[in-house]
Symmetry: C2
DNA sequence: GACAAAAAAGTTACCGATAACTCAACGTTC
DNA sequence: GAACGTTGAGTTATCGGTAACTTTTTTGTC
C-alpha cells in the first residue's frame, strides 16, 4: 500500500546507524542496550511501523510462542467459551493462540494437526481423547506437549484436562429414575467420533439398568445440534415409541427444540414427560419450564488447560486433571417420585465428578 | 519424545539419497520429479512423520497461507458462528485461520493486530470498523488486504462486509411503535467501542422521535452480556422508571434475562411490556412467549467475508458489501396496536437492510 | 594514570525452506 | 552423428531474524 517494502530490523538499524543485532537486542534484551540508544531505536520502529517477522524469529530462535488449539466445533457449542477462556489465560503469558476447527471430521483432524504442527507451536491443546491414529502418531512424533481437553477417561497422549462424562450420564439417568421416570430416551446430535457423548449415553444406560429398567431408546443424527433437529427427532421418536416419559438430550439446544415440540404436541412437562439437557447454556434457566441440565465447569477446564500447557512448556510432567460439574435441577424434571427410593439408591452416584 | 530431532527436508533427502531441493520440489512441483522417485520421497516423509516447517517456508517463499481473524468476543456471541463459517470457507482454499480475540479492549486490539501481522498473513479479517488509530496505521502500513466485518457504515480501511445496524435499530423501534408501545427502553451490555450497538440504539431513537415519542431510556453496562445482567438491569430500570412498556435488548441473551425478570415481577409479556432482542440466538424461538428479534444473515456475512478475502488476495479491488437481516416477529411484541397507523407510517422503513 | 572487569556494540554462523540458476542425461531430428 | 530441446536433479543465494562469540568502550579501583 504505502511503501513497497515492509521494514525489517535492517531498515531500523540503517536508520539509527547501528548494527542489526543491536536492534534485535533492544527488543529481546533491552537492558544490554544503552537507554538513549534504545530510545532512538524504539522511535524508529514506531515511525516506520515496524512489526517483527515471527517467521524469521521462530526459525532462528529456539522458543515458540504459539499454542495450537484444535476444537471439533465452534458453532453453538461449549468450545467457543472454552477457547475464549484459554486464549485469555495464554495471552496473559504472551502466548498466541492458533485455532483450528475440525468440524468433527477425522480426515480434517489429521490435516489440521499437520497444519498446526507446521507452525512449530510450543504446545497443542486439542478437544477429546479419541483421535485418528495418524493424528496421534504425528502429535507424538512432534515431541510437543499435547493437552487433551474435555475428556480424560481413556488412553491419553500426554496430559488431559476434562470431566467425567460417564459419571455425568449416570447422574442424568439416576436423577430421572429418582423422579419416577421409567421409559428413557436419548436424543440429539451424535457423531461416531464424539466419544464424550457416547460415554454420557453409556452412563445413562448404566443408571437405568442398575434400576432394573429397560433399554434407553435412541434417536440421533450426525448433524449439528439445534432446536429444529431436536423437535424433529422428538417427533420421530414419539411416532414409534409414544410411551417414552423422559428425554435425555445430548445438548441444551436440542432440549430447547424438544420442549417446543412437546408443547406443540400438548404434552405436559414435567408431568407427562421429563427433559434433561447437557451444557447449561444461558437460555436454559430462562425457559418455562426451566431446563434441568448439567453444567460442566467450563471456566475451570479452560483455566486448568492453560495451566497444564504452561506447566508442560515450563518442563513440568504430564498430568491428568478433572474439573467439576453440577446437576442443575430445575423444572423440566420436577415430577414427584412414584417409586420407592430404595431402588434408586442402588445406582452409584458421583455428584462432584471426582470419578 | 521419540527422536530428539524433528525431521527436516534434509533428513528426507539424506534418507532417499537426493538433494534437498528435489525433496522440496516433490512437494511444490510434483511433476518435475520422476514418479518413482517421488514415491520414495513420499514414503520417507510418511515414515519419518515429516511436517514441513512453515516458518522456514513462509520466510523463504513469497506467499503466505494464513489469514488473521480478529474478533471482539467469542463468548456468547455471534462471532463464534461467523468464525466457524469463515474458517470452513477459507480452509477449502487451503488458507489457515489464525484467531485473536480482543475482548473489546482497544489496547489489546493494537497488540493483537501487531501479533497477527507478525505472522505475515495473506489477509486480515477484523470485526468492526472502529479501531484504535494505531491499529489502523499498522494495518494500512502492512499493505495487507483488510476485510472489516459486521459493520460497513463509516470510514473503512479497505474492504467491508456487514449489515446496516442503524436500519436494524430503526426497524426495531418502528416495530414497537406500530405495536402500540410508547415508552421504550434500551438495555444491555454496551461498550464504548461497540459502535454497532450504538448505531442500533441511534436507529431506535430515530424511530421513536419520528413517531413523536420521548427519549429512549437506557440502562447499560460494559460487561459481557448474559441473562443475569439482563435481569439486573431490568430491575434497576423498573425501579426508577416503572412506566416503561417496551424493552429493546442489545442481544438475545440479555432479553432472556429480561423475560425471566418480568415473569418474576408479574408483568405480562407482551400485554404490559413488549420485548425485542437482537441476534436470533437459537433458544429465542423456543421461549414462551417466543422472542421477537432481528436475525442477521450470519452465514452470508461469513461467506461474503471469505469471498472478499479471496478476491483481495487474488488481486481484486476493495469493495463494500451488505448482508441481509430480518425482523423475526414473534410473541413478545404481539400486542394489538392502539395508535393510528398513519403515525407509524412516518417512520422510514428498511426491512431488507439495503440501506 | 594504568589495568582489570564490566558493559555495550559489532561479527558471524546458522535456522529450514524456496527459487533462480546451472548442469547432466537422454531422445529427437535432419 | 552432431546440434538441440526436454526433462530431471544439483548448487547457491536468500528470506529476517537470533545466539554465540569477539571486539570495543566505559567504568571502577588502587
Amino acid at each position: 500500500m504505502t511503501d513497497r517494502t515492509t521494514p525489517t530490523l535492517a531498515s531500523i538499524a540503517a536508520r539509527v546507524g547501528v548494527s542489526v543485532n543491536t536492534v534485535s537486542r533492544a527488543l529481546r534484551a533491552p537492558n544490554t542496550v544503552r537507554p538513549e540508544l534504545r530510545q532512538k531505536i524504539r522511535a524508529a520502529m514506531d515511525e516506520l511501523n515496524y512489526v517483527p517477522n515471527r517467521l524469521a524469529g521462530g526459525l532462528s530462535g529456539t522458543r515458540s510462542d504459539v499454542v495450537g488449539v484444535i476444537v471439533t466445533s465452534l458453532h453453538h457449542s461449549e468450545f467457543a467459551s472454552l477457547v475464549d477462556t484459554l486464549q485469555a489465560e495464554l495471552l496473559a503469558q504472551d502466548l498466541q493462540v492458533m485455532l483450528a476447527n475440525t468440524r468433527y471430521d477425522p480426515d480434517e483432524e489429521v490435516r489440521l494437526v499437520r497444519a498446526v504442527l507446521s507452525w512449530r507451536p510450543a504446545a497443542i491443546a486439542i478437544v477429546g481423547i479419541d483421535h485418528p491414529p495418524k493424528a496421534v502418531e504425528l502429535l507424538k512424533a512432534a515431541g510437543v506437549p499435547v493437552v487433551e481437553m474435555w475428556d480424560v477417561d481413556g488412553p491419553v497422549i500426554d496430559t488431559a484436562v476434562g470431566i467425567d462424562h460417564r459419571a455425568i450420564g449416570r447422574a442424568q439417568g439416576q436423577h430421572l429414575v429418582e423422579r419416577g421416570y421409567r421409559r428413557l430416551a436419548f436424543l440429539g446430535s451424535l457423531r461416531d467420533n464424539d466419544s464424550r457423548a457416547h460415554k454420557r449415553l453409556a452412563g445413562v444406560e448404566e443408571a437405568t439398568s442398575a434400576a432394573g429398567l429397560g433399554h434407553v431408546v435412541r434417536r440421533t443424527e450426525p448433524l449439528p445440534g439445534n432446536p429444529d433437529l431436536g423437535e424433529r427427532l422428538l417427533g420421530e421418536l414419539i411416532e414409534r415409541q409414544s410411551d417414552v416419559d423422559a428425554v435425555v438430550c445430548n445438548s441444551d439446544v436440542i432440549a430447547y427444540g424438544v420442549l417446543r415440540g412437546l408443547r406443540r404436541l400438548g404434552r405436559d412437562v414435567p408431568g407427562d414427560v421429563g427433559v434433561i439437557g447437557f451444557g447449561d447454556s444461558e437460555a436454559s434457566s430462562c425457559l418455562t419450564p426451566a431446563l434441568t441440565t448439567v453444567r460442566p465447569d467450563r471456566e475451570a477446564i479452560g483455566r486448568l488447560a492453560a495451566a497444564a500447557i504452561l506447566s508442560r512448556i515450563d518442563g513440568g510432567g504430564p498430568e491428568i486433571r478433572r474439573a467439576d460439574w453440577r446437576l442443575m435441577t430445575r423444572e423440566t424434571t420436577a415430577r414427584q417420585s412414584r417409586i420407592p427410593l430404595a431402588m434408586a439408591a442402588a445406582i452409584p452416584a458421583d455428584p462432584l465428578g471426582k470419578g
